[in-house]
Every structure is written in structure tokens, then in C-alpha cells.
Subunit: 394 residues, 2 copies
């Protein structure tokens, strides 16, 4: 007998995927360059040449038994050391290899984080708008995801709602800053207030509440700013990082868990990740990819196009009268639709070959997401279509 | 609060890992070339040059957004097609891409297989001697692993014991042929008898019993033989394959699930694997590795040294009076120790710098495992030490 819960999931098709498939099909008709596809968060800029060079050099020089051999269960030691040193240098926290666990992208890192600190039935809180995959990620681990409604003025945290929902059952709070889908970067003030609240509630409930920080967009911050480091505000932070967006490597499944050195069980938690792996068939990200990213830790792909695109789109949207928080990072923007039903709104946009994603599954009905990780030229060509759509429809 | 079950696992150190660490430490003292380390099943032969060439060529020629981009959730379509075609050609079953799911090695494949067909509390049977990692693999999925005692005469299946244990609670039977640790290849007769029994019991219980076939050693079979294909005997077979041993790529985490096309829900099961992935943070093996193995599907590393080593060791062991089933494949041999307590036996062997693994955790106390995936020269140099150990001790 096949397990019904997975069979049932087959009928619930992802809206993003459906739209992306529509875009591909429409591309067959009119040429994909004429479809203004803002559906998918797939990095558009090339991988740094230094990464490719590092891969080729290792393939040509290293003994294959070393290059492709088993990695230790927590990851390759030299790679963990390099990541810890890089985090220490950048964020000023005393990370050591003992705080680093190599994981298959952010999804792999999160899978370990949830299992570290939640038993079946425990609650994990996150904040709308949120990445819809968090729902299966958390719920299939046995815990229960609950979503704090958004503060739509700022897309920072709605603290009144959070306080209502932060009960004794909550073992972890999941944040994602810079945020998919809003593009908003949590301010230092937001993170400080969150940390203070979690410390208070941990004391009140007599158990630690962990902060799980999903940070794949950490390097994509605009106007030369840095996103405030979540871990710097709260000791019990489990950082989940992915190189997918910073190095344009989403298919290579490489990231890590970094437990804040100030967390009292930090080293034990990393050891526990190695045990969790055995149950979920994880067994480390690929050896050669671990070794290659360690050689380019201080680099990113050329991420500047995302800021250019943000500027173009934000200007156009505000001129057209959209209510929209200006993104501080990522490659997403999250405006309010021009009618209450954002599904209907996005449906109407399709006639103009604009692929916009309604935000119901992101926990913010009435809004929509545009993923602008596409060519600048295409963004420029899309703006007249956007204008035409709005003028003719609303 | 950290989850206690994972914390508790930290105290149970793997015997194999402890011995391997001992061997490394001893190597520091006397030179690792003088430590006869038979502890780890880590392939010793080089990766085929064609794999390395394929990797380099793709890195030099392909656009990075294609090469390193997201793979579809079931794996890259062309890779699944190539694997299906290769399986069809080799085993004569009508595999199509719809029956193939790309997974992170056999561990990843098994993680999906257990979750496909078992609910918490369901039983999975396997046969001693068995790979000890099966215990956390199954039990952390929520199901319960039960081990059928060995037929120590042949290390084929002990059918009387199996029939006793094959109750209504059993949803899957897990086989591993060629077998780690015994080196034995299940005969066609064994597989036919197993399939007949599972069909009978499925009918009797009114639910399907799935056969999960873990096949990382499929290509390592001696004397020009082929291991009988498990799937060919039983429609409800979930094949779990890894390229780790055949291509000497254990660190790159690449394998697949192949559901027998004759299984009535085969295509649904593969789709369900994509849903299971979301809960365990899997999201496909690395794109570049998927593409590279698809180019060398008909190749293996030069595996002949394993047969040479088997011949050397088997001859020596039998001359020394060990009771030992002759391995038909893999790079393991599994003799009976010369005293009842195989832990004590292996402890005494350490004085001769022989690293042998006692088989208690393999479900066959009184036996020990030698992993002979090492240089032939080292095997030859180890034989006098083995002889000396036996003569002086027993």
C-alpha cells in the first residue's frame, strides 16, 4: 500500500510551477524572449569563472579517490574550516569547524534544523509572506508550521500577532531575510525586538526557542548595504545557508548549517546533524562541489543586474499606482494587486504575456510576486506590456 | 530542547568507524602501508577517465545556467531516459523515464523507498548478515526494521525463519545482493522462492508487499557472472542503485530509484518520490554529476582487482581452516572467527596490524568482515601476518 499522504500531495500542483509551464508553452508559440516570465526564482547570472576553473583544475590534478571519495559525515574538514573562518571574519562571531555541517542546499540544511529542535506535534512559526515550500519542509518532519500574518505596511514582523501565537508549543521560529517573496531585509531593530521576545518567552516557558534563519539571499542586498546578521542578535540561532543564489549554483545542492557558537549545545547540535542525516538519506553534499565552493568563498556571481532590475520595476510599479514596499535585496518584488483577487489579477496579466505569481500560497492574498532574476533587456521590454495591461484593465 | 533520540545516537559509535580511526592512528606510528586495514568499504580503484573527461568538457563548453541550474524534481529528463534505456537493454524489462527517480546515492534512494510504502509502525524485514546502517535508515523513517537470522551454511535466505517473521505487519522486504557483508550473490532459485512467497503472502494479507532491492554492488560479480536481477522475479520491486562502487564515486552521492514497470502504480510511485523529497530536504542529486554519469552508463571502473583479492584471501583463509562462504561478488568476505567471541578475535588480530571487523552489528555474531577494496600488494603482504596471527593465537 502506497503512503496516502504523499499520493494526496500529487493533486496539489504548485502555482509557480504551473505558471512556469504556461510560460514555457507560450514561449513555444511566440518565442520565449517575448514571454515576460517573472515566475521562477532561478538565478540568471553566470557562475563565477573561478568556480569553473577550480572544478577543472581539481579534475585534472587530484587523485580520483581523494576527489570523489566519501566525505566525513559532517562534511569535508577543510571546507568546514574555511567556511567557519569566512563567517568569523565577516560577522565577528567565533565560528569554528565544530559549528558547521555541510548540507545539500538550504532545503537540506532546513531539513536538519527542524529535526534538531522539534518533536512531532511541536510548532514552528514563520512570517507571511513566506516561501511556500516551508509547509511541506516543516510538516513532513512531523512538526507543525504556523504562519504569523504580515504587516503589509513594511513586511517587517507583525509583533502583536507574533506575541499572540508564540505559545509554549513553539520550539522554533523560522525567518528568511532578505525575504522571498517580499524582497524586504529585516532591520536591526526588527531582529533585536525578535531576539528580546524570544529570550523572554524562553525564560517564561522554561525551554529554549530556536531561531532558524534561512539565508540564501544574504549576498543579494542593494545600495551597498549588508543584511543585518540574524545570528548576531540571538545565541540560539541555527543559520541555514545555500550557495544557490550567491554563486548561481542551484542545481549543485550545496549549503551548510552553522550553529551560533554562543548556543550552549552548538557542537553537540552539529554532531546530531550527522545522525539526522542517516535517517533522511542525506550523507553530505557532493565532495567535489564542497571542495570547489571552499575555493571561492569570498566571491559571488555578478549580482548587480538584480539591483538594476529592481530599480526599473519598482519605478514603473509606483508610477502605475501600485502599493509596494521597496525591496532591499533578493530578486523579488511583492506589490499589491489592483483588485482584491490576485489570482484573477494574474490571470488577466497573462493576456499581455506577463507571468506574475499570485501570493495566496505565500500567505498574503491580494498580493503578487515578480521574480526579476532575468535579463535587464527583457525587464525593459516588459514595462510597456505592464503599463498597457494596467491601463486597459483597471 | 534538542531532540533526545538524535542526541542518544551520539554515544553509539560505529565499530567500523572506530576500527578505521584506530587504523589511521596506527598508520601514523608505523606507516599506513604497514597497517592491513580491512575495515572500510571505500572503493580503491580509480574513476574511469571518461567520467573525468565528460566533467571537464561540460565545464568548458556548457552555459553555466544550464550546467548548474535546478534539476526537475524527479531528476534531469535526459538522464532518466538514458538510465531507463540502459536498464531495459540489460535486464529486458520495459523501463521508461517515468520509472526512474534520481537520488543522492543508495542512501537517498532507500530513504525514498521506505517512505513510499511504510507508515509509522509498519515492519520492514531484512536478512542477516546486513549492512548496519539499515537500522537507522529504516527506524528513523518511522517504520521498524526486523532482521531474519542467517543461514550460515550459504548466506542465502533462511526461508523457515522468514516465513515465521513474515506477518501482516510487514510492508516491505529489503534485500542486498551482491551482499555486504557476506559477498554472497543471491541465486535465481533464492529469488524465485522469495518472489513466490511474497506473492502468496500479499494475497493472503490483502496488501502488497514490496521488495526493496539495494544494489550498489550489482556490477561487482566474479568469474564473468551476472547477478540475477531481483526485479525480473517480482513486479513490486523498488530497485535502489548507486554509482558509488561501480564508478568509484562514493562522495558524489549519485544513484536512482527504479520502480519495476510491471508494478501497477509504478509511475505514481516515482511522482510520489518527488513529494517525499520535499519533506527530507533532498531536491535531486547535483546536476553536473547527473549529466556526467549519464555519459558513462555502460562503463565501470576497472573492478578486476576485487576478484584477484578475493582469490588470494579466500585461498589463505580456507588453508588456515576458516569456515567461509566463497564470495560471488562485492569486495567483502565474511568468515567465521576462530573463537565464539568475534570481538575478542578481532581485538587479538590488532596486535598483528590486521584490522578486521567483528560482525555483531551485521546481525551475525561470531563472524567477521574483511573489506578487500585495497591494493593487491597490500593484500599479499597481509597474508603472512594473518597466518602468524592464527598460528600463534589458536
Amino acid at each position: 500500500m502506497l503512503v496516502q499522504k504523499y499520493r494526496d500531495m500529487l493533486s496539489g500542483k504548485s502555482v509557480i510551477r504551473q505558471l512556469s509551464e504556461f510560460a514555457a508553452a507560450r514561449g513555444q508559440e511566440i518565442g520565449y524572449e517575448n514571454v515576460f516570465d517573472y515566475s521562477l526564482g532561478n538565478p540568471s547570472v553566470p557562475v563565477p569563472q573561478a568556480f569553473t576553473d577550480a572544478m577543472v583544475e581539481m579534475l585534472q590534478k587530484e587523485e580520483t579517490s581523494v576527489l570523489h571519495g566519501y566525505s566525513p559525515s559532517l562534511g569535508i574538514t577543510s571546507v568546514r574550516e574555511a567556511i567557519a573562518a569566512s563567517l568569523e571574519k565577516r560577522f565577528g562571531l567565533p565560528y569554528r569547524k565544530e559549528h558547521i555541517f555541510m548540507a545539500s542546499g538550504a532545503a537540506g540544511a532546513l531539513a536538519h534544523a527542524f529535526r534538531l529542535v522539534t518533536e512531532p506535534g511541536d510548532e514552528v512559526l514563520t512570517f507571511a509572506p513566506f516561501f511556500p515550500e516551508y509547509t511541506p519542509y516543516v510538516n513532513l518532519s512531523g512538526a507543525l508550521l504556523k504562519v504569523v500574518p504580515p504587516d503589509t505596511e513594511t513586511f517587517q514582523i507583525h509583533f502583536e500577532k507574533l506575541e499572540e501565537m508564540l505559545t509554549e508549543k513553539v520550539m522554533a521560529v523560522l525567518v528568511n531575510t532578505p525575504n522571498n517573496p517580499s524582497g524586504v531585509v529585516y532591520s536591526a531593530e526588527t531582529l533585536k525586538r525578535l531576539a528580546d521576545l524570544l529570550r523572554d518567552k524562553s525564560a517564561q516557558f522554561g525551554h529554549d526557542i530556536y531561531l532558524i534563519s534561512d539565508e540564501p539571499y544574504r549576498e543579494i542586498v542593494f545600495e551597498g548595504a549588508e543584511a543585518p546578521c540574524v545570528s548576531a542578535f540571538y545565541d540560539n540561532t541555527i543559520m541555514c545557508y545555500s550557495f544557490s543564489k550567491s554563486l548561481s549554483l542551484p542545481g549543485e545542492r550545496i549549503g551548510y548549517v552553522a550553529v551560533n557558537p554562543g548556543c550552549k549545545d552548538a557542537e553537540t547540535m552539529i554532531q546530531m546533524c550527522g545522525q539526522i542525516s542517516r535517517g533522511i538519506g542525506h550523507n553530505c553534499p557532493p565532495s567535489i562541489i564542497q571542495l570547489a565552493v571552499a575555493k571561492v568563498l569570498e566571491l559571488t556571481a555578478d549580482l548587480s543586474v538584480y539591483e538594476t532590475n529592481r530599480n526599473l520595476i519598482y519605478k514603473e510599479l509606483t508610477e502605475l499606482g501600485f502599493q509596494c514596499v521597496k525591496p532591499g535585496g533578493t530578486f523579488y518584488i511583492f506589490p499589491k494587486a489592483l483588485e482584491e483577487d490576485s489570482v484573477a489579477f494574474c490571470q488577466k496579466a497573462l493576456k499581455y504575456d506577463l507571468i506574475l505569481v499570485p501570493a495566496d500560497t505565500f500567505g498574503a492574498p491580494g498580493y503578487f510576486r515578480m521574480a526579476y532574476c532575468i535579463d535587464r533587456q527583457k525587464v525593459e521590454r516588459s514595462l510597456p506590456a505592464l503599463r498597457k495591461f494596467v491601463k486597459e484593465t483597471y
